[in-house]
């Protein structure tokens, strides 16, 4: 691991824990030998029954929990028995924002720095709250729900700035990443994912590794006329930061609409990744995972910044388990693809050409307007969606929660009406080869292969947590919080929570010096929308085709929303 990712003060101040996004804790009190002794230390009901994707945040012996819409922020006092509520902050977002949230009204967490909590609301506001008192410090509107924008991602605080990106790739919005001043909330810069170079913040410093990304205003010319204005490329996922290079890394989402025939071209800068100057936002390099994406393969998953021995020398790499099913290793200084290997079943493409960096598409699985293309793998949520992986430097393994879904896809003409869905596809999803809809996979990054794999009935929609005790945690949609052996994947312990788990587990050191593990339940998100939104699976196109694959979930779990914290006795 790079030096900036090491060291563990026992806190968890951002969802990814460190700037390298390892989600790895150096705490080792909980081990394969004693993990079966874990007991509930306390619980806390959030009072909200939609999908809870957030990570609990721990700073200064306080735990901060943000709920899905209406985005209530709770502070729990960890120094007192039972962790009583210290304060509650209700940002009162506009309820109408729920109408532009494609895949449940989730929130992926808050960030802590300098005595403040920074949070995003579904109706596209960024708010700073005093971490001690719960009083609002500033509030900035960053987007407009009437254009289809919302915000679900967790902000990242880098030095004196807060980085925020928008959601709405299914509403024809234009994606952006924006920086706000941490002290005042003033918007300092904004970089769009489509449009002229000036709006994308592409200038003389932009040095993409591959020639195909060189040229003027490609964010305009790689779309049919005017289509870049509804071209997508939203930034609703994860940002990493390398303080040594002073670079932030953030992906871009799918191009809009899903119907690819309506937007011939490479659709830059969607479904790719930007390296940007952390201060100015200037683009430094870009790589496109899915040129002219045809399958809703957003490029916004987590990127882990690691220093690994590749080809006989230690290289600064960026590891990205991508939605299209490949585990990419990029040189994070240049954007060169060093390797790209499938970690799930793929038939929508045939590999990545390491000479050109180009994804080799399978024309048989390319959607065509008015035609039903059957059995495309992976399905729209990809071989892995937003749910973040975790890396242990002790094992060299990347722990991947992911899904195994395929789909039938019919492109239809989309009608753009601002603020309403702009998709242009009928989709029906189902289990991929093997019949299990999920996996928990340990991936050997340097060896470029699966080390071990756990089959799960449902997609694993929770984050992963690796610890120095060689215990790895994750949760399942049907409510099991599991601990497995980091070396073998052997199940060591499991606990049935009240609802299903789609959140990001964390670990921290309590005021008593003990190691605690926390997870939030509350089924939902795209995978659990059938429960959270009380959907009717007799319509197999419901929830963009996800309901079809999850039709038995309502028989397994009900809605919920509770924080569970565990410790050894």
């Amino acid at each position: 691991m790079p030096a900036f990712a090491t060291g563990d003060d026992g806190q968890w101040v951002r969802p990814a824990r460190d700037y390298a996004s390892t989600r790895y804790s150096a705490m080792a009190e909980i081990t394969p030998q004693n993990v079966s002794q874990l007991k509930v230390a306390f619980t806390f009901a959030t009072g909200v029954l939609r999908g809870h994707e957030e990570a609990p945040i721990v700073a200064n012996n306080t735990m901060y929990i943000v709920t899905p819409f209406p985005n209530i922020l709770y502070a729990l006092d960890l120094t007192q028995p039972g962790a009583p509520l210290k304060w509650t902050f209700k940002p009162q977002p506009d309820a109408a924002a729920q109408g532009v949230a494609c895949c449940d009204v989730v929130n992926r967490g808050v960030a802590y720095a300098d005595g403040r909590i920074v949070m995003n609301t579904l109706d596209a506001q960024t708010i700073a709250v005093d971490a001690t008192s719960g009083k609002q410090l500033w509030r900035t509107r960053v987007g407009d729900i009437n254009t289809g924008e919302s915000v679900t991602m967790a902000p990242l605080i880098v030095k004196d700035k807060v980085l925020v990106g928008n959601s709405g790739g299914e509403f024809g919005v234009r994606g952006w990443l924006t920086a706000l001043d941490l002290a005042t909330g003033r918007i300092v810069w904004r970089a769009y994912a489509t449009g002229p170079d000036s709006l994308v913040k592409i200038g003389p410093r932009f040095k993409p590794f591959y020639d195909v990304n060189k040229g003027k205003d490609l964010g305009v010319t790689s779309f049919p006329p005017e289509k870049w204005k509804t071209g997508g490329g939203t930034m609703w996922g994860w940002i990493s930061y390398d303080p040594d290079l002073n670079i932030v890394y953030a992906g871009t989402g799918n191009p809009g609409p899903w119907d690819p025939d309506s937007r011939p071209g490479r659709n830059l800068w969607t479904s790719g990744i930007f390296a940007r100057d952390a201060d100015s936002g200037d683009a430094l390099w870009f790589y496109q995972w899915n040129p002219h994406d045809m399958h809703d393969y957003d490029g916004i998953n987590e990127q882990l910044l690691l220093d690994l021995p590749i080809g006989g020398r230690t290289r600064k790499v960026l590891v990205r388990p991508e939605r299209n099913g490949y585990l990419y290793v990029l040189d994070r200084t240049t954007g060169e693809v060093l390797s790209a290997d499938p970690f799930g079943f793929i038939n929508s493409s045939k590999g990545v050409d390491l000479r050109t960096g180009e994804l080799i598409l399978n024309p048989d699985k390319a959607p065509v307007l008015g035609k039903v293309v059957r059995d495309i793998c992976p399905a729209a949520p990809g071989a892995k969606d937003w749910q973040p992986s975790s890396y242990s430097p002790r094992t060299g393994l990347l722990y991947l929660p992911h899904q195994n879904l395929c789909m039938d896809f019919e492109s239809v003409e989309a009608n753009y009406i601002m603020g309403t869905p702009y998709v242009g596809a009928n989709v029906k999803m189902f289990a991929g080869p093997g019949g299990n809809r999920g996996f928990f996979t340990a991936w050997d990054i340097v060896g470029r292969k699966v080390a071990w794999q756990v089959k799960e009935d449902f997609p694993v929609w929770s984050g992963a947590l690796a610890t120095a005790g060689d215990v790895v945690f994750y949760g399942t949609l049907d409510g099991w919080f599991k601990a497995v052996d980091a070396h073998t994947g052997a199940l060591l312990w499991k606990f049935r929570t009240g609802s299903g788990i789609i959140s990001q587990p964390i670990t921290y050191r309590g005021p008593d010096g003990k190691q605690y593990v926390a997870v939030v339940d509350g089924v939902g998100g795209w995978a659990g929308a059938i429960v959270a939104g009380s959907l009717d699976a007799r319509d197999s196109l419901a929830a963009l085709g996800m309901a079809n694959a999850m039709r038995d979930l309502p028989q397994k779990v009900a809605k919920g929303g509770t924080v569970y914290v565990f410790a050894l006795p």
């Binding site: 309820a95 109408a96 924002a97 729920q98 109408g99 532009v100 949230a101 494609c102 299914e170 039903v372 039938d408 019919e410 239809v412 009608n415 009406i417 603020g419 309403t420 869905p421 702009y422 998709v423 009928n426 029906k428 929308a529 939104g533 009380s534 959907l535 009717d536 699976a537 007799r538 319509d539 197999s540 196109l541 419901a542 929830a543 963009l544 085709g545 309901a547 079809n548």
Partner: protein, 182 residues
Amino acid sequence: MTRTVLCASALVLLALACEREDRDFHSDPAAATPKPNIVMSSLQPGPVAVIPKTEAPYDDNAWMTAEGMRLYHQMNCSGCHFEGGGGIGPPLMDDEWIYGSDPANIYATIAEGRPGGMPPWGTRMTPQQIWTVVSYVRSLSGLTPRGARPGRSDHMSGNLAPQNRTPEKPKPTFTPPASWRP
């Protein structure tokens, strides 16, 4: 015996014939479409008054229902509610009606919007257009006459055609008998 069978067959055919749609070839112009009587709750203060229900003008009109289906897709209703199973918005094919299942309630929901994310369409569509969507939405749970409901779609089917769906019983279905009232 043959005669009995023939008679029975004739009766069956006659009964089936009654299922045919009843198309009004001179439908009212937009300005003359009914003004709904909107009630959102079965609980009434004071003695229960009989509030005349607004009939959906196109429930038994297959062509207008199909027109509603076309608008349902073109206005992107399907982007949230899909073929009735729901997604961003709630399902429309089951027996749950958050804002009421009566045609007047559905009309009001489409025209006014609802606070949880349903946009108001009253400023974008004519009353006549909204009424066609009302009938299509009602057809999704089989609430309109079978003969007027859309048949199999040309697109990838996610579902039984509305024509082949078993009618749902919207909740709540209890109406107290008049004799219970003082």
